[in-house]
């Protein structure tokens, strides 16, 4: 652990309007592992996740202090360039939102805006990512069909492929399976587990069983604070903190 972690959060405070959403967050996200952020709804899970790639820039009344270091670079520094930071992180949101274009163009969108124009290279990239998300065999004959024609589970995998195509190092998942059926959920969960060889993955989830199935580490957030952080088994089966114990047992939700 001598190497600097991909994401390191130092003294992060987030206010939205008059509310103090996140309070003095300090954490190093483990590399090449799946880390789940759990906690009751409204505790600040999603806020924490979105502060990793500055998606709060688009929202009114948000004030952020402290540091988020991505590969040692503070993304909230005044001179930070946000598009290249975001490129390092793929985001998988609650529901799939395919771009209004074909399946192929969805995956090729990211590489194209980042300057890849050669058809050969794009073809190869698209195939590679669609294979990585297990979608290739299902869609290879209709790459030019509109992405909205896919089933919702397929759409979510397409969105994952789209995110992977820009070559991120980190994947952020914001309750990425909450809109999906059990079969698609299982596929996505398996994908997360296989992808951790190459990527550091951070997931927000409110399903404890899911956190247990997929993650190596767990961050428990309550009322805007990190209560406990550690390996999955330890946090879920043998929590140190009273609050974590109550949450895991289902007393707080």
């Amino acid at each position: 652990m001598t190497k600097t972690p991909h994401i390191s959060v130092q003294h992060l405070d987030v206010h939205i309007g008059a509310q103090h959403i996140l309070k003095d967050i300090n954490i190093n996200i483990p590399d090449k592992k799946v880390t789940s952020i759990i906690g009751p709804s409204g505790c600040g899970k999603t806020t924490l996740l979105k502060s990793f790639n500055r998606l709060w820039d688009n929202t009114a009344d948000v004030k952020i202090t402290g540091k988020v270091l991505v590969d040692g670079e503070d993304i909230y520094a005044p001179d930070a360039e946000v598009t290249h930071i975001r490129k390092k992180m793929g985001l998988l949101s609650q529901r799939p939102y395919p771009l209004p274009m074909s399946i192929y163009d969805n995956v090729a969108y990211g590489p194209r805006i980042h300057g890849i124009r050669k058809k050969q290279v794009l073809d190869q990239l698209v195939e590679e990512q669609l294979k990585a998300t297990g979608l290739w065999n299902e869609v290879k004959d209709r790459l030019n069909a509109s992405a909205t024609r896919l089933s919702i589970g397929q759409q979510q995998r397409l969105c994952l492929a789209r995110g992977l195509a820009v070559g991120p190092e980190i994947i952020l998942g914001d309750e990425s399976t909450s809109a999906l059926d059990p079969v698609s959920t299982a596929i996505i969960e398996d994908l997360f587990i296989s992808l951790k060889e190459k990527y550091s993955i951070v997931l927000v989830t409110h399903i404890l069983r899911q956190a247990r199935r997929v993650s190596d580490y767990i961050i428990f957030v309550y009322m805007g604070k990190i209560i406990e952080f550690g390996p999955t088994e330890e946090v879920l089966l043998n929590p140190k903190e009273e609050l974590t114990k109550e949450y895991v047992k289902g007393y707080i939700s």
Partner: protein, 281 residues
């Protein structure tokens, strides 16, 4: 108890009557125009420009005004879009963090929308005098463009607001710039833009007060931006003012033509809106 029941019934009947009057007024208007205009309709009306003595009841049609109206409304819609699309994008994608400011701008456009077209006409006239432009196609297009900008901006703004935030987050998190995100958003709302174009083309084609001072009037089809251009509403207005019965009748027929054009546009827009809302994610 009986009084309560009676009151309920009474107001129910009143409501149905009011609804019949309000929605029936549409049929009354279109019916009147058809009834009076149809006898004077003929092929010449839409295929010929006014001949000599047209305004005392001789040969000709109002092709000049039909074409003129399409030029003015088309020019204004295109020019209006070129200005409104960037404004709508700016309010939505570049001012997200400043809600107070963007809402103030929205309100300013709402107020601008409320300004009557005669004021736009008068103001357009002032601009023309200032720049030394004579009453012409160009003048008409400028005045009508001013008229349609506020409503175009607000419509596009509303359409863009229906695009889910997650779609923007999706492109942004791929490392796209705001402009690249805007292009995706525009793609998403393309059907909405078409609807807006149709609706405001319809509004632009029917407005008189703004072109009254600015477009002038001519019996010829304009061949350049600096020539005066006839417009349909003005042609109707002038012909109706004539004491000659034949000319008045042609005024009714012209009104019928304008009504048909506008109805077709409105119905098309309505169909598009329905289609659009069906395919939204």
């Amino acid at each position: 108890m009986r009084k309560r029941k009676f009151e309920e019934l009474f107001f129910r009947v009143l409501m149905i009557l009011a609804t019949i009057i309000v929605s029936g007024s549409f049929f009354l208007i279109v019916g009147t125009i058809f009834f009076k205009g149809l006898p004077y309709m003929n092929w010449d009306m839409i295929t010929k420009t006014p001949g000599g003595g047209f305004y005392i009841g001789k040969e000709g049609g109002i092709l000049n005004a039909i074409i003129g109206s399409f030029y003015v409304a088309g020019g204004a819609t295109v020019l209006g879009l070129i200005i409104s699309i960037p404004v709508a994008i700016f309010i939505n994608l570049y001012m997200d963090g400043k809600r107070f400011l963007s809402n103030t701008i929205r309100m300013a456009f709402d107020v601008l929308f409320g300004i009557p077209s005669i004021v736009y006409g008068a103001f357009g006239f002032l601009i023309m005098v200032y720049f030394g432009i004579r009453a012409s196609l160009l003048g008409g297009i400028i005045a009508v463009t001013l008229l349609v900008i506020p409503i175009l901006v607000r419509t596009l703004d509303e359409v863009i607001r229906t695009v889910p935030f997650e779609l923007r987050d999706a492109t942004l998190s791929l490392g796209a710039t705001r402009w690249e995100t805007a292009k995706v958003v525009l793609r998403q709302i393309r059907p909405g833009i078409f609807t807006a174009i149709l609706l405001y083309f319809g509004r632009a084609i029917g407005d008189v007060a703004s072109v009254l001072f600015t477009a002038g009037f001519s019996d010829n089809i304009p061949t350049s931006l600096h020539e005066p251009a006839a417009t349909l509403p003005l042609a109707i207005f002038f012909q109706l003012g004539s004491p000659v019965e034949e000319v008045q009748g042609r005024g009714y027929a012209s009104a019928l033509i304008l009504t048909i054009i506008v109805l077709i546009i409105t119905v098309l827009a309505d169909i598009l809106i329905k289609k659009f809302s069906k395919h939204k994610i």
